[in-house]
């Protein structure tokens, strides 16, 4: 939109990836004189806000400088050799697919840092918290910015250690077991993924994603493609997570601190689906076509399974944990994303990318809200919260209740909000899948997915009824604070973007569509 010289753009992208790492190292050092603040804790938390804020500003500048007329072209590219022996190049670049994810990641990290500044989760020193958060940010941003398979793997692995410590040190009950489950599951997935990446890289002679995309799998035999899709898909599916590989997610979300849950749902899960779109679709189209019906089937089952699990948790007397419920709803939502990808059509993939962003915004918001609710009530157990009639947030904390109701309604896919477009496009994609894919099978998935949206609406409305409505005079006498200023500041951007993306989907689709068209056409569009 504004003209920024290519070298500045290049610098901005490299800065976005590297600066959090430097910030992380700086967080461990004592604060310099003049920046000591009121206490060392306050100083380091402020440092976190500053660094993530600068990164967000750089990401916004990058978005403004991005040539929106050519979103299918990689921009702000850097390409230098790093490890010749392994043929690893530091190849960075963004196109219409990665830019929205990059921007959303930077935004969510800034909001999380802001939220933690006022509301630090209970645990050991904030110094380590900020340092880990920044390493996590670097890893996630790098995942979306790199264009080399082995660098992608490196970035993919980089998030494991910080996330493990965030859950294990700052989490709630059962945090050790949940953290172990998270890291061992994802590591097993990603090591298997590495085998697939090596298979692709060795057989086609390059680890460069751009070259691989334009080769479009011509260099790879069918068997190689099958093996590669199987192993890479397995690693990505664990991360996404795809049913039935999701079992680490509910525990991790339930145990993680609020900020950890927000980032896990908002950013980390997207790394899985992004990998499907960025690597598997263009580099191994034949293998993908073979496995697409299975992927679609798992996605459809995941949609219904997630919704049913949520329904069960939302019912009275089941002692459902709200955080766990939203985690299961993520399994359902990511099912739509996978269904869109499995259709292998521009419509479906665009829908998947849209649903990715929408899920990041809405579920991020939901986890913020539920985390705040848990802080206020001391529990996220739905039965305890609701009591006999309901938690009556509308009566006790009207603005809080309104936010929660908004997030729930957005999550169920109300037209006019972000959640709608992605899921609708994904279903459209399944209605008319790519040539060579079994139409009846995908029609079935579409029907199952559509049924899933009904179930989704059902459990979210039950949650709204049980949490927001009720008799404020019944139940325990508890003064519930309404939304604080910092909460308002952290949550409003998410609300605004949800409305924006819902009312003006073209702002996102205009970016992703050309890039997706090129991707599916083998870089020759």
């Amino acid at each position: 939109m504004i003209d920024i010289s290519p070298s500045v753009m290049q610098f901005l992208l490299a800065f976005i990836v590297v600066a959090p790492l430097l910030g992380s190292a700086a967080a461990l050092l004592p604060a310099p004189p003049g920046l000591k603040g009121k206490s060392p804790e306050q100083a380091v938390l402020r440092h976190g806000v500053t660094v993530t804020g600068v990164i967000l500003a750089a990401a916004i500048a990058l978005t403004l400088g991005f040539d929106h007329d050519a979103p299918s072209r990689f921009q702000a590219t850097t390409d230098i050799s790093w490890i010749q022996a392994l043929n690893v190049r530091i190849h960075l670049g963004i196109d219409g697919i990665s830019l929205p994810l990059l921007l959303m990641t930077a935004l969510l990290f800034f909001l999380c840092a802001l939220y933690s500044y006022f509301k630090l989760p209970a645990g050991p020193s904030p110094k380590a918290f900020v340092a880990l958060l920044l390493v996590l940010e670097s890893g996630t941003l790098a995942t979306f910015a790199v264009l080399d398979l082995l660098l992608f793997f490196l970035a993919f692995e980089m998030v494991l250690i910080p996330m493990y410590f965030l859950i294990a040190r700052w989490g709630g009950a059962q945090r050790q077991a949940a953290a172990w489950r998270f890291i061992l599951y994802t590591l097993l997935g990603s090591v298997v993924m590495l085998l697939g990446l090596l298979l692709i890289g060795l057989n086609s002679g390059t680890f460069d994603m751009v070259t691989l995309a334009s080769d479009n799998g011509r260099e790879l035999s069918h068997t190689t493609q099958l093996l590669a899709v199987l192993s890479i898909g397995l690693g990505l599916a664990v991360k996404t997570p795809m049913w039935p590989l999701h079992s680490w997610l509910p525990d991790a979300h339930t145990a993680a601190p609020t900020v950890g849950s927000v980032l896990l749902a908002g950013v980390l899960l997207k790394m899985g689906t992004y990998g499907f779109v960025r690597i598997l679709l263009p580099a191994t189209p034949d293998g993908m076509a073979t496995f697409a019906p299975y992927l679609g089937a798992f996605a459809a089952v995941g949609i219904v399974y997630g919704s049913l699990a949520c329904l069960a948790l939302a019912r009275k007397g089941n002692k459902g944990d709200l955080k766990r419920l939203i985690a299961y709803s993520s399994v359902g939502h990511m099912g739509f994303v996978l269904l869109g990808i499995a259709s292998m059509t521009p419509t479906g993939v665009n829908g998947a990318l849209f649903a990715n962003i929408a899920h990041g915004l809405i579920t991020g918001l939901l986890f913020f809200l539920v985390g705040a609710l848990k802080d206020r009530y001391g529990t996220a157990d739905l039965d305890t919260l609701a009591g006999a009639t309901g938690a009556a947030l509308y009566g006790r904390a009207p603005r809080f209740g309104a936010f929660l109701a908004f997030a729930a309604v957005a999550s169920l896919g109300l037209p006019g909000l972000a959640g709608f477009w992605g899921e609708m496009l994904a279903l459209f994609g399944a209605f008319d899948p790519a040539e060579g894919l079994s139409r009846p099978a995908f029609l079935t998935y579409m029907a199952v997915g559509a049924f899933g949206t009904l179930l989704t609406a059902a459990y979210l409305l039950i949650v709204v009824r049980r949490v927001c409505m009720g008799d404020p005079k019944a139940g325990p006498e508890l003064a519930v604070a309404d939304i604080q200023h910092y909460e308002f500041a952290a949550w409003t951007p998410l609300v605004a973007l949800t409305v924006l993306a819902g009312l003006w989907p073209a702002v996102l689709l205009g970016l992703t569509d050309p890039a997706v068209q090129k991707l599916l056409a083998g870089g020759n569009s």
């Binding site: 490890i83 010749q84 022996a85 392994l86 390493v135 980089m158 250690i161 410590f165």
Partner: protein, 510 residues
């Protein structure tokens, strides 16, 4: 007249019987051995209070020996060649030799730094200790350069025999003598089996030079085929033992626990280097003709080794005495499994795959010696070597804790231990490249198992400490060892190319 021409022809044909020796090429080995002898003799004339000087002479000698590797980088050198066949040489200083010699000598240098305080504190006999360490290092440095079976076995024994004595060095410690005896008996048996294998190979080929053996094994007469095959298999046993590959691994935990800590670190790195270097030389240089035998055997051995090592390491409980050393011992067995993968892969594709073993070994040497150095530091205040002693190390010694965390994550192969990650990637690559998919999958599962115990230990470092902190000043040689290894690991993480370049091109001169 005819007699005259015949005589001149003869003298032209028969070259001089005196070999010329390339002293520069053999300098790294000779210096190490010579300094060892100097230390032994000097020990006789030094008063008790001057004994620490011996340690510093050894450190300086090892540093000098490492430095002599620099001029050798210019090109491949050979010496002790057959006068009749100049291509058959007993000593070759090619890229492979230099990489391993660097590993051995730099590793011995770090061991020596850690030992300076250990020798003083535990009152081990200084002269003997340093002499034995240097002799063993000289043998280990000779091994990668030796290109005939006799030199190979001699180097193997020169490296091992002093190690037995070093293991039993802790005076009055029953565990130590028992460990030494166990190590000695099992090792000698393995070497004897190896020697028998060598004799079989010699019987079938009539040569000890690896390149000639390789040529002649190509067409072994039918009736000798079984003999040659048995020779190949038996020769591998001795080296597999030194690598601590399953089923020759059982000596490792007890030996490491009984040995002085620096020696345990030495065995885990240099001892292993001796084993896999020998394995590489006999397999890819001498026995390529029988790759269909040793390839699958090594692949299975690799899978078993990593699985058993990691499974045993996971089972170490944190509160038992010596659990930290036991864990490092079992994890080194697991790591030996990864080291074997590219050698097995070399059987299926080409011999340059072993570059991945060398790269992995260089990474492993730096971080494992680092971990042992930190263990030596911690053992000064908490001599029980329990993993639970490491709880809250960050509060007590932040830099040591951060270094250990980094070493452990490198061993696990997870960022921020980038060099560990890429070293693993090269090993995986060799397996995938050779079509050993099943082995790659077994290794993938093992990487996950290993992460569990490495990360459990890492997490412990950052917990809030229990009880009072007893911070004493760290002796500077140990600190230097930790800093040296930590800097190496960090620099390598930023520029993995430094060691990963051994994976490109051929490492061997011939």
């Amino acid at each position: 007249m005819t007699a005259m021409t015949a005589l001149t022809a003869l003298s032209a044909e028969a070259p001089s019987l005196v070999q010329s020796v390339d002293w520069l090429a053999i300098a790294p080995v000779v210096i190490t051995a010579a300094v060892g002898l100097v230390v032994l003799v000097a020990d006789l004339f030094l008063a008790e209070r001057h004994k620490p000087v011996l340690g510093w002479i050894s450190v300086a000698g090892l540093a000098a020996a490492t430095a002599t590797l620099l001029p050798l980088r210019a090109g491949d050198r050979t010496t002790f060649c057959l006068t009749g066949d100049p291509a058959a040489c007993s000593y070759v200083a090619d890229r492979f030799t230099l990489a391993i010699q660097f590993l051995v000598l730099a590793g011995a240098l770090v061991t020596a730094l850690v030992s300076v305080t250990a020798v003083r504190d535990t009152r081990m006999p200084a002269g003997e200790y340093w002499f034995l360490l240097l002799s063993s290092a000289a043998g280990a440095a000779l091994l990668p350069a030796s290109r005939d079976l006799a030199t190979l076995i001699v180097a193997l024994e020169v490296a091992s025999l002093p190690a037995f004595a070093l293991v039993g060095m802790r005076r009055g410690n029953r565990l130590s003598s028992e460990a030494a005896l166990k190590f000695f008996l099992s090792s000698v048996t393995a070497t004897a089996v190896s020697l028998m294998g060598v004799s079989f190979v010699y019987a079938t080929t009539g040569s000890l030079h690896l390149t000639q053996v390789a040529d002649r094994l190509e067409d072994v007469p039918g009736q000798f085929d079984t003999l040659a095959m048995a020779g190949v298999a038996l020769t591998l046993v001795g080296f597999a033992f030194k690598t601590a590959a399953v089923p020759f691994h059982f000596w490792v935990p007890d030996t490491y626990v009984g040995a002085p800590l620096p020696i345990a670190g030495y065995l885990s790195v240099i001892g292993k280097a001796v084993g896999f270097t020998g394995l590489i030389l006999v397999t890819v240089i001498a026995f390529p003709a029988y790759s269909d035998i040793w390839g699958p055997a090594l692949a299975v051995l690799a899978a078993l080794t990593m699985t058993l090592g990691n499974a045993a390491a996971v089972r170490q409980s944190a509160d038992r005495p010596n659990s930290a050393v036991r864990l490092l011992a079992w994890s080194s067995v697991g790591q030996a499994g990864y080291l074997l993968v590219p050698i097995a892969a070399a059987a299926y594709s080409d011999r340059d795959q072993i570059g991945s073993t060398v790269a992995y070994a260089l990474m492993y040497a730096a971080v494992n010696l680092g971990a042992f150095s930190v263990a030596a530091l911690v053992a000064r205040t908490k001599p029980l070597h329990r993993i639970s002693d490491y709880r809250g190390l960050y509060a007590e010694r932040p830099l040591a804790a951060l270094s250990l965390a980094f070493f452990l994550l490198c061993l696990a192969g997870l960022p921020p231990g980038i060099i560990g990650l890429f070293a693993k990637v090269t090993v995986f690559r060799s397996a995938v490249d050779a079509g050993l998919g099943w082995l790659a999958v077994v290794m993938a599962i093992n990487v996950v198992i290993a992460l569990y115990y490495y990360l459990r230990w890492t997490a412990l470092l950052f917990r809030t400490p229990e009880g009072a902190q007893t911070r004493t000043r760290a002796p500077w040689p140990v600190t230097a060892a930790v800093v040296l290894t930590a800097i190496t690991a960090v620099v390598l993480s930023g520029a993995p190319e430094i060691i990963l370049r051994v994976t490109t091109g051929s490492l061997f001169a011939q």
